[in-house]
Assembly symmetry: C2
Homo-oligomer: 652 residues x 2
């Protein structure tokens, strides 16, 4: 239990966090009561009308308990791990014996497939037991190891049960015996990063240095010449690399050069985020300045040049990948749910490496928009791809947009996103606070309680807020005895103005890297009142983003808004915003999930009178009628009848 | 020689056309002196630095004169035919014994591969002689027949030599023995239409009704149930249709239903244009009202809802196909050069079916923009795809734009476009005029001479104009004796205002379907002076086109203009046009090909001051500097250093 912030394990500084939040509780209750049971059915091939996952059945076949063929992807095992991890977090806040029984059953099924030497991967055990670890480039054995570790750590933390943790260690030990710098070992590393950050969690949870060492090896060996993947291809004759001739090459899996030399966020966005997350953990644990510089550089590459306003990343369906600076097409956006989740992971680790408000700003932006958009409000349908502009006809008629859906899907052949979303949202407790010495960082504003063990004593916060529907946040402090501590309240970049009172009076504070620092001795009953400027505003994209030139998006605190056909009729491209209008913001029955709608004045281009049959004609000035445009939070789109959606609208 | 307008053969009404035009002569001279010899090298695998075509070598192998394997596509033969057809037109206006010798050599090579029964297709003869006509859906034997016929007719017309014509007839006769409604024949039709329009030309050239009948069979059998292609798949077991699961299906090759029931322009755009061209010919020759209605309907579908302002059609690279109404993305546009050429073919045939100015307007728009853009001004590089917006980095880094090039290519594996362009531009004489009874239609304005044999006698026109660089067009009339005739001068839709003088005085005229009709008795020395309103203007797209909302294009008569990086720096998306500015238009040394540039006042968005690292921030109003935007004709783009290009710019 060495490192309090590397994983989701019990904290030294942050003792306990309990979320009781009007925004998040209903969403998490949906996940608990609907999405988790729903996904349990999926893992057990019991979801009507969807392709069977085969996930748990694969484990039974590998264990010799059933006969049959492996079904699904080479990384099908990870679906069970991710579900288990989500269940573990759910059990932490909501003990549920029935659910725990199912989870125990899953654990038992998984472990039954483990081989005597610790190996556990159903794809290889069933189809090619002699080919283990021979195609690290494309297959996902180590990725599955990583997810198994994360599940094991979380499940141990939630239940105290050790079976899965022991199994995960056995598999990790096998990996440790197999991979490393020693001459007799394989000098490979995962094609899809994940094991790295998981091994660091395992190290933090168990204190066993070997896991940290292996994680470090995987990160540091990556991309060095002679390139392991190229050697592997030669040995295998397993064919030309799919991406070899395209724009991606080995950058697809961030293995074109050593990580410290990587200048821009390249390749598959989820792989990048998982790798960068491990890099940030390692930079913190090792103090390596080159790694820290690489983390900062790659963070900037992502968030300053390659990120949608929703926190979506990886703009291209080709390789689910980054393309180039400022290339952020809205209607062909990939912006995979898992990539935004990965960005949240990366952001959290950057906050632990060096607390700065900009990391939390992005974390929050991704969380409230691209991540949340991944799930229907009933918890039973999901988006893999999160576009910022949708014309339903284009999804079916234009092959370049075939990856875009205008309705969430019940399940996916590649079902990485739904359980990933569950495990993130059910562990939200771990993202709110961090402690550094006697300073408590408040990164996110959610109602609930938290307890911190600080050098000066134990401090408890009770937060009450209607955030993100209002900018007022109240803290009541509780301490058995006065505690000297700094409270660092994040001041989001979107709220340059604010009001801050302590016990009803203007308080002395200083600002530091996006946080308001209140340094005092706190006593039972102290009250902090922070009022952020949370109101709808028009946002612009940098003039360097071609796609958004002449357009604006409506943003309200952490929430990005969008126009839907359900509120505004078809032809959303005809709408333009009036820049002088003051957007109104209020709860509205039409907003799915009972959020607030934004209403803003603008115009709608009229059809050409008498010229319906003309496609082009001399420009005759704008011909438009004034309309009231209604926008809803982006995360809530596609929860009504299918139709068009747009985040960026023309302005002026 | 029955039908004067079905092909490019000598006309009864239009006796002789000689182009002597300051705009077209240099372009056609480049084609004559550079592109035709260059393509000869390509056909002979003698083009340095490009993949060998194998085209003529395939004929030699099929003839048993060489050994080796067939190289290239199943339709590789058609490259030779298209080249020959272009050469034939060139010889008509420019006798050239050396070129004719090469052409004779090509003819001899082609004919040498003809089988005793008339069959001539090198792919099947070399690789699978027993599989002839078994895969009409995907392979192109009848398409190659069509191009052979077109070449043969043109070559006979130009040289009087009969060898190729006789060979083409032998192959056509074999097709006639093989396909048709009779029970013992195959009930198939070409997967890629072309034979249909070619057989009609052969009928017109030879007067042999059987060719018209076969063309008619091919058109009328198309798309009827039971679907021939589905039957063929069953017989062959040649696999699931590639497009079966996509949005295209059998509409890819316009075979999803009978042609008279086709409601919208669907599928592969070149196939559609070649089919519709044959339909328009048949509607004219047969008077079939259903076919005429289908032609009108499909024409409207293309030109009122699915055509770029450049005359480019087929917006999607998937299937090189149409997508849906008003779906005209600029940066992923396919807009194949051959498709625009096909639109010119279709438009010309609609003009013959029912002369209306709208057909000529589109013909001219496609010709001066998307078609001409297909060739570099030096005649040695070509575009297959003609986008309306290019960011070079996107072409290499964004896989969704991998079909888009920002530099013309020296040759293509699928080299359909270059020789197609040559044969169209070298037969431009056939597109200028048509005669109906005693009426002479003037569709296009080019300097040169033309002679018409009319019921009242022979009339000669001598045209002088600097069109498209000026709107003034002068005709001198020559007649040995006075001739009563109607002259129908096209009034382009872009020029609602005009001045028309006959012998220096305002003349009596009436307007009819886009033409100014001058009905009088013409005498030697009469002069007509037409002044069109040819000046740069801003054009808008219909508000139904999402991609062009809030944007305008600069159009000057038939020419569409575009902004290039070479004139305006990088970041063309930052430019916006001032709607109140009066565009200036003048010759400019920077315009490739010495055309006129448009200069128009506008703005350029400034970089965010002090916020270089921000990607999004609250909208602060436009921050832009006034700039002078220079535009060049679209056809001339990509003739300088590579860079960005845009047709549609923001306005206001």
């Amino acid at each position: 239990m060495k490192d309090p912030f590397a994983g989701a394990e019990p904290k030294n500084g942050v003792r306990q966090v309990m979320i009781r939040d009007p925004f998040w509780d209903p969403l998490r209750e949906i996940i608990r009561s609907r999405a988790i049971p729903y996904q349990w059915l999926a893992l057990n091939d019991a979801l009507p009308g969807t392709e069977p996952s085969g996930c748990l059945r694969n484990f039974r076949i590998a264990a010799g308990k059933e006969t049959g063929e492996h079904h699904g992807f080479v990384f099908q095992d990870s679906d069970a791990s991710k579900w288990l991890e989500g269940v573990a977090y759910s059990l932490l806040s909501h003990p549920d014996p029935e659910l725990e029984r199912k989870a125990d059953e899953a654990v038992e099924t998984m472990i039954s497939a483990q081989q005597p030497d610790g190996y556990l991967n159903t794809y290889y055990t069933i189809t090619a037991p002699d080919r283990r670890f021979t195609n690290l480039r494309d297959n996902h054995e180590l990725y599955c190891l990583g997810h198994m570790i994360e599940a094991a750590v979380a499940y141990h933390r939630a239940t105290g049960k050790t079976a899965l943790l022991e199994a995960a260690e056995r598999y990790a030990d096998l990996a440790d015996r197999t991979f490393g710098p020693e001459p007799e070992k394989k000098h490979g590393y995962p094609g899809h990063p994940e094991a790295e950050l998981a091994l660091i969690r395992l190290y933090a949870h168990t204190g066993k240095e070997k896991y940290l060492r292996l994680a470090r090896y995987f990160v540091e060996a990556r991309g060095r010449e002679p390139l392991y993947f190229r050697e592997e291809e030669r040995l295998n004759g397993n064919g030309r690399y799919y991406f070899a001739d395209g724009p991606l090459g080995y950058a697809y899996c961030q293995a074109d050069r050593p990580v410290e030399e990587q200048q821009e966020a390249e390749g598959h966005a989820v792989r990048a985020m998982y790798l960068y997350s491990a890099m940030a953990d390692l930079a913190r644990l090792t103090g390596d300045p080159g790694l820290r510089a690489a983390c900062r550089r790659l963070w900037n590459s992502v968030t300053e040049r390659r990120m949608y306003i929703t926190g979506g990343i990886g703009s291209s369906p080709y390789g689910e990948a980054f393309t180039f600076d400022y290339d952020l097409p809205n209607d062909t956006a990939y912006a995979e749910t898992c990539a935004a989740i990965g960005l949240v992971f990366f952001a959290r680790r950057m906050l632990l490496l060096e607390p700065e408000g900009k990391y939390a700003d992005v974390l929050e932006r991704a969380l409230y928009n691209c991540v949340l958009s991944g799930m229907q409000l009933d918890g039973q349908r999901f988006f893999y791809v999160n576009p910022l502009e949708v014309l339903p006809e284009a999804c079916s008629r234009d092959n370049a947009k075939r990856h875009v859906q205008y309705r969430r899907q019940p399940w996916f052949g590649c079902a990485c996103c739904p359980p990933n979303l569950v495990r993130l949202l059910m562990s939200l407790e771990d993202y709110l606070y961090s402690v550094s010495e006697s300073r408590v960082y408040i990164h996110l504003y959610l109602s609930g309680e938290a307890e911190f063990r600080l050098p000066g004593g134990t401090l408890r916060l009770d937060c009450r807020t209607e955030y993100p529907w209002a900018g007022r946040i109240l803290y009541s402090l509780h301490a058995d005895a006065p505690v000297r501590a700094e409270l660092a309240l994040r001041l989001p970049a979107w709220s340059p103005r604010f009001a801050l009172l302590v016990n009803g009076e203007k308080a002395a504070y200083r600002t530091e890297k996006g946080y308001l620092i209140l340094d005092r001795t706190w006593a039972e009953g102290d009250r902090i009142e922070l009022e952020l400027e949370l109101r709808p505003r028009l946002f612009a994209a940098s003039p360097r983003v071609p796609e958004d030139a002449g357009k604006a998006a409506v943003v309200c605190g952490p929430l990005v808004y969008c126009a839907e056909e359900a509120d505004n009729g078809a032809g959303l491209h005809r709408l333009s915003l009036d820049p002088s209008a003051e957007p109104a913001w209020d709860h509205h029955p039409e907003v799915p999930g009972k959020g607030k709608a934004v209403t803003v004045s603008g115009w709608r281009d009229r059809d050409w009178s008498g010229g319906e049959s003309a496609l082009y004609r001399p420009w005759g000035g704008p011909d438009r009628e004034r309309v009231s445009i209604r926008l809803i939070p982006y995360y809530a789109w596609a929860n009504r009848s299918p139709g068009e959606m747009r985040v960026w609208l023309r302005i002026g």
